[in-house]
């Protein structure tokens, strides 16, 4: 893989950048000078990408051979890796909203935190976040009822509310705690024979897990402070979870929507 490194210029001030050009698809096959000239938006104005980053490295001919490293903290740069289909991105610090949104393939690793709407309506690929994630992780676009379709999201820290909203497929794993509404509306747009998505939460949630869940599986290994009343306890049984037999309370619901989802809460 060829590597291009973007190092944020410390003296460059900006409000918020929208940099949907930072993807292997957009970089591959271009020269470094062309990449420096690619447009990023600040409000209603555009600037060349090279104004904000020192850009060095080698460009690959094909996007699948292209790696991009963001060598620093960019908590106000949005849309990094959005709509990417292949290749790899490593962000060494924090990133802003819509990281990996609508991605179809490839992988993104973020060493710091991501803001809201990361991985929304994702269709494939891997989004690994070592810090915390904001709200609406792997959710649908505002207003849409077709959420994350495929791929994998892993968060080592905590996640905000509404993760996996309207989820159709793929997996979201949260090693820490989550806020309310995890998996809300999930499975709304799932076909009648498809299994839906999978959400695994190692930590706790204040509540509303699986609200209006139609189809899909949610595992919670910590505690849920307030269970949704629309879930019925089906059974308590030992299940093979990552190679270990663990006891789970198995709920089905959300009955308010005649949902056929399953919620496994560690007993």
């Amino acid at each position: 893989m060829e590597k291009i490194t973007l190092t944020p210029k410390a003296d460059e001030k900006y409000l918020v950048l929208e940099a949907d050009c930072i993807t292997p698809d957009a970089f591959a096959g271009k020269t470094l000078d062309e990449i420096k000239e690619m447009k990023v938006w600040e409000g209603n104005t555009t600037w060349p990408l090279g104004k904000f980053f020192d850009i060095i490295g080698t460009v690959a001919d094909k996007a699948e051979d292209q790696a991009i490293v963001i060598n620093g903290n960019v908590p106000r740069v949005k849309y990094i890796g959005s709509r990417m289909t292949t290749g790899a991105i490593l962000c060494k610090g924090d990133v802003d909203m819509y990281c990996g949104a609508w991605m179809k393939g490839g992988s993104i690793i973020v060493k710091g935190n991501v803001d809201h709407f990361a991985g929304i309506q994702m269709e494939g690929g891997q989004l690994i976040i070592e810090g915390n994630a904001g709200n609406y992780l792997g959710a649908s676009y505002r207003g849409d009822w077709r959420g994350m379709k495929g791929g994998e999201i892993v968060v080592n820290g905590n996640a905000g509310c509404d993760l996996g909203e309207y989820m159709i497929g793929g997996t979201i794993t949260i090693k820490g705690n989550v806020d309310i509404n995890a998996g809300i509306h999930a499975g709304r747009a799932v076909g009648s024979k498809e299994p839906g998505g999978k959400i695994v939460i190692y930590g706790n949630s204040p509540g509303r897990v699986g609200g209006q869940l139609i189809r899909g599986n949610i595992y919670v290994l910590g505690k849920i402070d307030n269970m949704m009343p629309g879930f019925a306890l089906k059974e308590t049984k030992e299940l093979d979870f990552e190679g270990k037999m663990l006891p789970f309370n198995v709920f089905t619901g959300d009955r308010a929507e005649a949902g056929k989802g399953t919620l496994y809460v560690k007993a």
């Binding site: 649908s140 676009y141 505002r142 207003g143 849409d144 009822w145 709304r188």
Partner: protein, 585 residues
């Protein structure tokens, strides 16, 4: 000494050598020059030597298009914009702002400015908002003000109005006439519009009127009474257009029976012909009303029944309401129908009640080529346009955005003009589509003349504005579209893609004598945008005034003083005077 009067001619355009299609004057593709002076069509000899010359050699010249039924302004359209942010995400054609145009977009529910740009690009110069709730008429006119370039009007919803139903029940026709006349003035409305007559009021009671004989709860009138009552009032008032009806039982299998019964109701009503129209009822989005079967499973096309009726009766005009098989937003004052759609697809649903007047609902819909129902709906639209013999009775609409966005009109034209294009589309649809419709057996391919009838001359005559609009005769408004398609060297039937390309981006659109579109780009907004409304005088009635005051004191959430749309809301009105004082019947 009297100085000789000097009239300065400005804004002169000479469109030379185009293939002119002007059905209102019977011109069928003749190579002709069209001259424009001061916003009107004139004889070419009237022009001074300084006229701007547009070389239309090898191009098609038509009057500006007129959309007789579309939803582009008002509360439910705006609700559609607000509740579908994803409609903008899926719109590849978002407009960027420039010195001239505003940023905006939305695939199925575009913003007001974008709506105007897109209509103008198609060569359309007038689009009529088909459902204005009276209480929200101000909002509708505010949006019309924010839609530049194109002429507009709004149709006032009256089919579920409490006073209308009360007067009809008591047989008080004089009061009904006075009330309808007052309503059109108060809302600056152009047309009497009925949507699911009685059914939307019944929805307020959790019910519906699925046939024309179902009584409306409490009011104890039937859709039959409402349709006949308002059709009679419409003709006594001598309004430019007939009643414009979205019949009961829209979108349900087997509803063609209701449709034909509805059309038969006005057979005996004398048509007011002063405005040049021949019909006393306009059936809108006929496609949604031409269904056979008893359920979605055995659903089939009954387009031929609707077409046969329209072919054999002269008191009806119709527009199609094509389904274009897109992801779109449905919006209508037919509240119970939208609830039905919501229960079918489980997608988000918005429902509204408009006090004493009407209601509405909105649901996103994905018309899928894989679904036999949607495929048959697509075919029914095309069947209707091909089976109705006279295109002056059957107009181009998608009931935008209900059947699909109006930006698909060029694609629809290609399906109508090219059997090759529609066969290719049909091959991608469910196998029941050819089995349950007659479309594959229809060889008719419409001509440019017939397309001009469906999109220009026909709607203008049906709306009663054919003296000003929909034609290129001297004295008419200079609303003109020029398309880069040579009908003599290119066979539209064999080259449907070329046809779509030419009609999607007009070479020129001229509105009120000003070039507003050149090569598909907006180059000016023009100064001729006008809002049409119908002013029927001579029907004042003290008792009706008393009844209106009473309703406002008792029930309305606003006072009567805050209700009528002030004149200042309408920037450049075209007031169609009607009624006995205007020389009507």
């Amino acid at each position: 000494m009297v100085k000789p009067k000097v009239t300065t001619a400005t804004n002169e355009i000479l469109i030379k050598n185009g293939f002119v299609y002007d059905p209102a004057s019977g011109i069928n593709g003749d190579v002709k020059d069209i001259a424009v002076q001061n916003g009107k069509i004139v004889e070419a000899s009237k022009l001074t030597t300084g006229a701007r010359v547009i070389d239309a050699r090898g191009k098609i010249v038509m009057p500006g298009g007129i959309d007789i039924h579309t939803h582009i302004a008002g509360p439910k359209v705006n609700t559609g914009r607000m509740f579908r942010p994803e409609d903008k995400l899926h719109d590849a054609g978002m407009e960027s702002s420039s010195r001239l145009i505003r940023a905006g977009g939305g695939f199925s529910v575009p913003s007001t400015f974008t709506t105007a740009y897109r209509y103008a690009r198609l060569g359309y110069t007038m689009a009529n908002e088909a459902a204005m709730p009276p209480l929200l008429a101000r909002h509708t006119h505010e949006e019309i003000r924010d839609t530049p370039i194109i002429d507009q009007s709004a149709y006032t919803l009256l089919g579920n109005n409490w006073l209308v139903m009360e007067y009809i029940k008591r047989g008080e026709t004089e009061k009904l006439d006075a009330f309808v006349a007052w309503m059109l003035k108060a809302t600056k409305g152009f047309v009497v519009k009925l949507v699911n007559p009685g059914g939307t009021e019944a929805w307020g009671w959790g019910k519906n009127c699925v046939s024309i004989d179902d009584p409306v709860p409490y009011f104890d009138v039937t859709p039959t009474d409402i349709i006949k009552g308002l059709a009679g009032a419409n003709e006594r008032l001598g309004l430019p257009h007939s009643i414009h009806i979205h019949p009961n039982n829209l979108g349900h299998p087997g509803n063609v029976t209701t449709t034909l019964k509805t059309l038969a109701l006005t057979e005996g009503i004398k048509t007011h012909k002063k405005s040049g129209r021949t019909q006393n009822i306009h059936l809108t989005h006929a496609q949604f009303h031409s269904y056979g079967g008893t359920s979605w499973k055995d659903f089939f096309s009954e387009a031929s029944k609707t077409a046969d009726y329209i072919n054999s009766h002269d008191h009806v005009t119709s527009d199609v309401g094509f389904v274009t098989l897109d992801e779109t937003t449905t919006m209508t004052a037919d509240g119970p129908m939208e609830y039905g759609l919501h229960t079918l697809g489980h997608l988000k649903w918005c429902n509204a009640d408009v006090e004493l007047e009407t209601g509405s609902g909105l649901v996103p819909v994905l018309y899928s080529p894989a679904s036999h129902v949607n495929g048959i709906q697509w075919a029914i639209g095309i069947e209707l346009a091909l089976l109705i013999k006279d295109p002056m009775k059957c107009f181009m609409t998608t009931d935008h955005p209900n059947g699909g966005p109006f930006t698909r009109y060029p694609t629809i034209i290609s399906w109508l003009m090219s059997k090759k294009a529609r066969d290719a589309k049909m091959a991608t649809l469910h196998k029941w589509v050819p089995e349950r419709t007659k479309l594959s057996g229809i060889d008719r391919e419409l001509t440019f003349y017939e397309i001009a009838q469906m999109t220009r001359a026909g709607p203008a005559r049906s709306l009663g504005i054919s003296k000003k609009k929909g034609g290129l005769a001297p004295g008419m408004d200079a609303d003109i579209a020029i398309y880069a398609f040579n009908p003599k060297t290119t066979d539209a039937g064999q080259k449907p893609e070329a046809l779509v390309k030419a009609f999607e981006r007009s070479a020129y659109t001229i509105k009120g004598g000003e070039v507003v579109i050149k090569d598909g780009e907006v180059v000016a907004l023009g100064n001729s945008k006008s809002t049409f409304w119908s002013d029927a005088d001579g029907f004042d009635n003290k008792e009706v005034t008393h009844d209106i005051v009473d309703k406002f004191l008792k029930y309305y959430s606003v006072t009567l003083n805050n209700y009528p749309v002030q004149d200042s809301y309408i920037l450049n009105p075209t007031v169609i005077k009607c009624g006995p004082l205007a020389g009507g019947n």
